[in-house]
Symmetry: C2
């Protein structure tokens, strides 16, 4: 089997998970070269790596480069992404700088792997909450076109990165110890609170945040429905890992709950967990650190024509970021594109 030299830029929460995912999936990597802000030796996911300072020549010889920037962290792929392509690598970027770029396929392999055929060396990994929502919606959309969805998210702090994980932990400990709570990663404390803001204001959609706008624009691009109508509210909740999303959708034709469940049960990468009477549904504590996106609470929403409501939950660091990026690389290998 052909082996690939894999570069990895950034070793925060997502970058570390990328190393884990590459190893867990036995990705055919003859080398994992980690690039970051400065040279040092560092243990990442149990392995010692010689981390190299990011520079143009550091990309030489790489077949695949994963940019591990978390949501909204600007910089690395903007500075080095196309340079890496010029030096012969295929870039898979977890950041949000190039997702809407027409040259860049925006891919969830289970949904629109076909878009990879048109790649120009640079592929974007979608937003975490968009990936998780669409993993539940796309299989249904294939059977019965999606016309509208309202998505309300319950997003974990790991989506913000390590500082926010540390902050929720510290706030929980301060609560238990009776000490003062400090907030730095967010404008307000997150422990025992919910924050109806993820990202900043987005001028293209007045009143909406950047995270909410992504749900609209990225869903349109991934599903290939340029006029798809999406209403969205994105909310941070005091959860460490896994984003949950309440989706109320409308399709071209009616679904019964049974039909929808059968489609979801057969969908790759989806785990149907749906037994309300037995209190079985996906939630962060039974989904976190796993590969599959859980779907439950599937029911006809009688308040709109052809309505269907569902609850989707996936690990934002894995399927929402690191795992999806590695799956894109696997899919490109499978299709003979690298």
């Amino acid at each position: 089997m052909k082996q690939y030299k894999v570069g990895l830029v950034g070793i925060g929460a997502v970058g570390t998970e990328m190393v884990k995912v590459l190893r867990q999936r036995s990705f055919p990597a003859s080398e994992i070269r980690i690039l970051a802000t400065r040279d040092r030796d560092e243990v990442v996911a149990g392995e010692t790596f010689h981390v190299r300072e990011t520079a143009a020549e550091a990309f030489d010889g790489l077949d695949i480069v994963l940019f591990a920037g978390t949501e909204g962290s600007k910089g690395a792929s903007k500075t080095w992404g196309w340079e890496a392509v010029r030096r012969g690598a295929v870039v898979i970027d977890n950041g949000d700088d190039f997702r809407m770029d027409e040259r860049v396929p925006l891919v969830i392999p289970e949904i629109n792997g076909d878009a990879l055929a048109r790649h120009q060396g640079f592929i974007a990994n979608p937003n975490c909450s968009t990936i998780i929502t669409l993993m539940g919606i796309a299989p249904l959309h294939r059977a019965n076109p999606l016309r509208h969805m309202t998505a309300v998210t319950f997003q974990s702090v790991s989506g913000t990165g390590r500082a926010a994980i540390t902050e929720l932990d510290a706030q929980a400990r301060a609560y238990a110890a009776g000490g003062a709570v400090t907030a730095e990663a967010y404008p307000h404390p997150i422990a025992f609170n919910v924050l109806p803001q993820i990202g900043g204001a987005k001028p293209e959609m007045p009143g909406f945040t950047s995270e909410e706008a992504k749900m609209t624009f990225e869903s349109r691009k991934i599903l290939g429905v340029p006029d798809l109508r999406v209403g969205c509210t994105c909310v941070r909740v005091p959860v460490f890992y896994a984003h949950s999303v309440a989706v109320h959708a409308q399709f071209a034709n009616p679904f019964t709950a049974e039909e929808a469940r059968a489609i979801l049960a057969a969908a790759p990468g989806v785990r149907l967990v749906d037994d309300l009477a037995a209190a079985q549904y996906p939630m962060p504590l039974n989904i976190q650190h796993g590969d599959d996106v859980g779907v439950g609470r599937v029911r006809v929403d009688p308040s709109v024509p052809n309505g269907l409501a569902l609850w989707v939950c996936g690990d934002n660091i894995r399927k929402g970021a690191a795992q999806n990026a590695v799956q894109i690389a696997e899919e490109m290998i499978r299709r003979g594109l690298i």
Copy 2:
């Protein structure tokens, strides 16, 4: 000023808050008689009460009886409610047994105080998440009829009662101490998790929970729109006090965000907190233990005709339960009904 003998049945989280609210609002009570499962002296909200065992004759002489049962706690008002009415009291019931009863007005004083005129001695306090949602929606509906809403809730554990408050506290402390987490109040741990289930399955609305069904049926009755269309997902979050709700609504005619904000800013009982650029919006930590329902994130939802999205947050134990019940009594006094 006329004084009233007030009975209070049940002294869990809601009953205790009712005593507090009666005192804070200087309710004209010549007596507060607490009835519960057994005779004892007990300190409630800083006052020592001689708690009497609930029995038919214990209601004699009372003008107003507040039943403080929390959501889904069956019993007291079913057993004693109409008996208290027969003995001359006006009953205000926080439980959910009689809300849809045609003899029983279901009232949020700021919204449908007029319904009290038709009372037969028994008034119901609506569900906490329905009250909080409608405090944000009803002022808009008065100006521009509501046609549809999708409401997704983020509900605090105090809605379940004291055992759940204790359980979230214990789970947070167990986390900090590195100990094992036990779950009794809910089928799963709630700390660092979200549970997409509040209440049991509701046969009238297949796949929906009882809490979700309440949002539909109670909203119809309170707003007086029998065919109002409501989609709802109710979710428990690891928050102690205050329920938040993401509402995506459709009205008969368009609203601008400015028009909607002006209406909400002038609505009694509503506090507009809406400056996304400055990270100002209502959330549990700035709303809990207060009287007003906060509304923020007001924006046109361009995904549907005449769409408007907003974020509503209110203290479920206060405006969602105890305070609204006391306000019902005040409104009846104001209208000369008691």
